[in-house]
Symmetry: C2
Subunit: 208 residues, 2 copies
């Protein structure tokens, strides 16, 4: 009789167990959906941040993700400025277009290219733009996966914006800022834009 | 007696249930690790592919991920050529440097920029490079998350490579190929490069 008291638990526990397995399997199988694809599709530009500080270990997690990007000839021509100085953030928010939110973001990461890295021939020297863009995208996705919000505010190739950031951060001449990325906890949920457009896919198949 | 037969199931089922909960929680809590960060860090360049075909729904999943990238002023200046014509793949493998693997890849995706999109002023017109690079990185990560292998073989900004791809794919003059990405199931596991370098992080904090 004493042991029989637990019998009523069998069914609910079994149901919960089977259900928990189902959740994971379902996630992996439905239309190739997985956590990474969810993060890629849920990321959107965040321009309003809460007061909550971003722990420094999280900033390192973002930078580690950024540096895991592919790099042409493995040159890794990137450099990351983590800006927490409120005066510098306010100055950038006033002098850059579309960057007002910097004044209220807990911090910003400025992704830069080092044009002294790699082969100095005319063409190869431009590869920092692709490498640093891929690194930036890793950073944005890592932030989204941690519940942080970001927005890519462009600097390169605008000469005036490059000068503004160069002066505010005292960058040497061979370091070119690609963008300024404010980082913080989102003040509100943002709906990602739907950008899928099958017209932008062309197929090249064997002619028969 | 008949019902008591199931009593021996209670403990193992409870243990399994608690264990399954633990696996998920552990994953989310350890050092900010999550599936997306794992995918970002596990991605590496894959140059050898198995014979296994890539289902067309998976290709669409990759392209949907690519088009979810951020785009300056939401111009979305990208265009994707999915190349399955073996003759074209072989031709590209012979005429492009470092692209031999194309001959044996099930397919390749050529990420292009449309320079007729967006503001035609001197500076804005270059934003397709960043937008298409971010889209490419989404594509590489989506592929990794699905167990597919890829490698970013650069085309832009090399004039000779652009001409090669333009001729092979018959691209109009305003479409510029950024890269060629072979896609397939990896023939073997590849070890990602360790690129984390704290020297590449600079801090700008308030002077006191």
């Amino acid at each position: 009789m004493q042991r029989a008291n637990h019998q009523h638990l069998i069914l609910p526990v079994l149901i919960l167990f089977v259900f928990s397995l189902f959740i994971n399997t379902e996630k992996a199988m439905s239309q190739h959906a997985n956590e990474t694809l969810n993060v890629i599709h849920n990321r959107s530009s965040i321009r309003h941040f809460s007061e909550q500080a971003v722990p420094s270990e999280m900033v390192e997690t973002l930078l580690r993700a950024a540096m895991a990007a592919p790099s042409s000839r493995n040159v890794q021509p990137w450099l990351f400025y983590v800006v927490e100085d409120r005066e510098v953030l306010i100055r950038l928010s006033e002098e850059l277009p579309s960057a007002r939110m910097l004044a209220h973001a807990p911090l910003a990461i400025v992704v830069c290219g080092d044009i002294q890295k790699g082969d100095p021939n005319e063409e190869q020297v431009h590869n920092w733009v692709m490498d640093c863009s891929a690194a930036t995208q890793n950073l944005l996705l890592a932030a989204e996966s941690l519940g942080l919000g970001t927005v890519w505010t462009g600097v390169h190739p605008y000469a005036d914006r490059i000068a503004t950031v160069r002066n505010a951060l005292r960058l040497p001449a061979h370091i070119i800022p690609l963008n300024v990325i404010p980082v913080g906890y989102p003040a509100a949920h943002a709906q990602p834009k739907e950008k899928w457009d099958p017209e932008k896919v062309k197929h090249i198949r064997a002619e028969k």
